[in-house]
Symmetry: D2
Subunit: 347 residues, 4 copies
């Protein structure tokens, strides 16, 4: 029985962890913490869990957490970096859904997150939990930095191009569209239904925290520094990210659509959660709603000699909690798809 705790499970990634973990017969939910909800039934905060989760929220207590094999952080950034060390010392393996350990360059992290990093040594030991890249390292990791939602979609869409040196990595473009749940369950005016529905807009144009994380992953794949224009858009829906990626073909190289298709097919042939579509099929976020899949199509625009990749995921599943559990499964040495076979809810 895998004993699991969740810190800070009152937001959307929290309820997704619970939805995916609660039905599992091989997982025991030991403790779900929330300072402000302490003593309240988890199922009264998340009515969808009535009859499925009997726990109450408890105050974060080291003893309870230390009794777990795995602890998930579903907290805002800076929480994990301040408290994970203690758990790790006791042998608890930590899966952090926040940004605290994602960026290896601590100075860069500090610039974007505008606060000193209190545990640079944990950054070093942390494994970036993108199974399609780091599966072996994840297996024995003590500390996982679960990738961000945008970085997951953008990297999965770009990797085959960069790994094969097909595109000019200095002029990459990621035009990404996210549902509003990406902003979390925060009482902020901008995300009120009346503000966010029936409208689309770009945001973070001057700079978004996922930019350095994406570039780090792309640079690793390319074996060189990359240049990326990343424009996220707030889309009037709850779940889903669609990343539309534009990459100019590298000078001196010529590509055909057949080549591109087979490069993508091959790259992800054995990946349980990356689904490369046939030519002519295009991903829609609805097709992966509630599922851990990332669906990808690749196409080529001859007119501008540019490769166009479309990658769709559910930002709360493959972009967060589902991927976290995929990491858990790998770390446990069990079937990577355990508890993640949920079929998307359509319509």
């Amino acid at each position: 029985m895998i004993k699991v705790g969740i810190i800070g499970a009152t937001g959307y990634t929290g309820v997704e962890l619970l939805r995916l973990l609660a039905p599992r017969k091989d997982v025991e939910l030991k403790v779900v913490t929330s300072r402000e909800m302490q003593g309240k039934a988890v199922s009264s905060h998340f009515p969808n869990l009535r009859g499925h989760v009997d726990l109450e929220f408890s105050a974060p207590d080291t003893n309870d957490l230390e009794a777990c094999d795995f602890v998930f952080y579903a907290t805002p950034h800076t929480v994990a970096m301040n408290t994970a060390a203690e758990l790790l010392e006791k042998g608890v393996r930590v899966i952090d859904l926040s940004a605290d350990f994602r960026i290896k360059d601590v100075a860069l992290w500090e610039k974007w997150y505008k606060t000193p990093h209190t545990s640079p040594e944990l950054v070093e030991m942390a494994v970036y939990g993108l199974p399609e890249v780091n599966r072996e390292a994840i297996r024995d990791a003590q500390l996982i930095a679960v990738p961000g939602c945008y970085p997951t979609a953008v990297q999965l869409g770009m990797l085959p191009l960069l790994e094969n040196g097909l595109v000019d990595s200095t002029r990459l473009i990621a035009d990404a569209k996210s549902g509003v749940s990406g902003a979390g369950r925060k009482a902020v005016e901008d995300y009120l239904l009346c503000e966010a529905t029936e409208s689309i807009r770009a945001y973070g144009v001057a700079g978004h925290r996922h930019h350095p994380e994406i570039c780090q992953g792309l640079a690793n794949a390319a074996g060189e520094k990359v240049g990326l224009t990343f424009i996220p858009h707030l889309t009037p829906m709850v779940r889903g990210i669609l990343a539309t990626l534009y990459a100019p073909v590298r000078t001196g190289i010529s590509v055909t659509i057949e080549q591109l298709q087979s490069i993508f097919d091959d790259r992800y042939a054995k990946e349980p959660f990356v689904d490369v579509l046939a030519q002519g099929e295009l991903p829609a976020t609805r097709d992966v709603k509630g599922s851990n899949k990332c669906t990808i199509s690749v196409t080529y625009s001859a007119e501008t000699d540019t490769v166009v990749v479309l990658a769709a995921e559910d930002n709360l599943v493959k972009g967060a909690s589902g991927q976290a559990i995929q990491n858990l499964n790998i770390m446990c040495g069990i079937d990577e798809t355990s508890g993640l076979e949920t079929i998307a809810l359509l319509p």
Copy 2:
């Protein structure tokens, strides 16, 4: 292994049957028919099923269907009444999601569905598949008429009041709000996003086909003819029905809210899919999205001496395909909740 076929699985109840049946290890999907989609992969019509359902749609073929233990009809009305007899003769048990066998009074059915009924003898043998009322009869039934979406919510909300003779059954009101998926996957102007979103309206005010079905069930519970005003409303969302039910307390009777609460608590104490909320809690359709639950709260308006009941369900699950599978489970003598433990997707 339970061998299952689905006739006409190209609409929303079809994809829900497939979503719920595909993961089951005790169910074998043998055949999925559709005349117009014949030869096309089920998963190309329903991309959420990619990797989960490998079948192609086939033309309805008696031999294939006869090899099944159970056949679901997810067809428009009149299909089942014209073809089910043949299957039943071969010992196939039939679960019909259409309206063909729901109304025992054949003349009444003919009036509302505006066509002669071709199999009155099947109407007689059919069991109305509302487990909370007919569980025993369902067990051995050869032919199930799965209740309609509105009738399920309205009956579950009204039954405890009528069975206990608490309310004046001649002046019942059901103000019901349904998501647009209740209209099915039909290319009809009224259900275009641009027509149906950001608006609410009543429809079928002059008469709705679910009216006689509801009244039949309520009359059975009351032991007398009932009078019902039923006003359905098209609500700008995909899934969900919320029925707001108003029942005047019977003259000479006095009720307290505590009594009402305990009557509802008791009535559904053992029901796995009816969830009676505590006083002060109210159902929302989002809390049951994708799940087979019907959530109910009861309250009392002293000012008008009226009981108000709120009942929420997912019209495609407890209101259709989930309930159909609940019937299947009962008919198989297995755990009634098999394959129906899905937690609602929230947000």
Copy 3:
């Protein structure tokens, strides 16, 4: 030139007042106040007003406001009751969109709003600004209490029945569905897109502040105390209220649908903003989005001897700011429809 000020114009009723007043050639917007937005351009808070409103928000300043002929309060309750007296003394006519002066029974107001009323004498002088009832009194009023959004729809739908003594006024039911903008522009978790979209739920079942206001108006129409069950529902859309009203026919009276239709037709024949639909037509909130109309249909359910009325309005226009301006027009003795001819935006 009508000189106008608006107090507290940072919410949805504020922006609606501005949208409707800005294009008018006979109205001069003198001052728009907001303590927290002081010094900020109105059009940077409401980008739809760019190029239409050049004012900045200013701190509430008595001198500025006293220079106005009319001052609108678009504030939370308790603001107007504490500050309107001063303006009224200087001869400014006040149109209050909050609830401060709507309920004549001060004790009842204090019970529902849970605070002592500081200006009972203003309650007495205030005219309830429902033109279809109080047009003459509005003409010379110094202080208008603009009706609430639900009360407008419910009263307009019920009045013809009660004024004619057709229905049993002790058992009235108002099942009302409102868009989320009714909750205002407040950063509250419940109204986040991710919480409020794709779901419908009742709220305020134990008691809603609009209940006493509605009952006051209905009792005036009926000439007797009324009993009302009022169940509001949060509907996943921005604008619109649909009130579905159920009224049992009074014992000893018999009605026909033709009678009902002609009673409604006659009652509202001269009303510019109440649109009674022909038999068979039903209102939808989308048909009045952005317009000052209330659209009504009446029907009769013989089975339960109940009249069913449907009334649709835009809660921010006829249910708030449009109605406020309709009052302004009447008070100015100009065409009641001035600036209110906007055609609903469809789709």
Copy 4:
């Protein structure tokens, strides 16, 4: 009095023309044609027009139409090219909202629209009705080809860059997001609420009919052939287009954000319907919903040496019917903003 007729006014561009024209005191709506709705009141098809438009749809009749000064075509493509000549001969000035006369290269048009063009001579005489480019030619035009919705947003966003030779016109990217109303009021499965809501997807990736129209306009501005990757996306909302435009800076040129800002400011300084935002402000489609504005912001990504432009419009107004009326105003020599001052509906 400007006498106006509308051919085929049963869709969304039709109702927008009517919404914008009906209130005008200088315009007389003479005839609104629709073969299939003949004899039906316009306001029963479009309930928002009740009380505003008293006409019935009539069959297209040359005499009625010839009595008009201006005739709008709000028809599918191929209607105008087959019937406009007759009207033009009689001196009626024609404003065509369809694609029939937009593309000067008739062979190119025939390739994309897959039918022979029956009036190449009209293509030649037609003026492309983008006032920001062709105002003078529009003034005396007999026949206007109103630009498509995507082409309007993309051209307005790209023009200042191309006219000034700042960017490499061989590698332009337009990532455009459109509301569902862009698909028109057609009973097609893909645009059902249940299919199109809560999801975003690209479409037309292999080629979209607006591509050649956009390229024609961009080439005119650049004075050279352009290369464009154009990826439209179906966005879960009714109205609005947001075009996110990426243009690499031309080799050998260096730009600053201040330069870019002033180039855009200058280009559109006198344009009544193009609103260039200050640095740091970003357009959202909700801010222009129902209005004739196109809102633009420009920014620069140093990392990839790419200019990023965001352009938002209401696809049914500035992207169709509003622009058509802007053309009408110019052709009449009256104030270009007549009847187009509508403030966007927010929220």
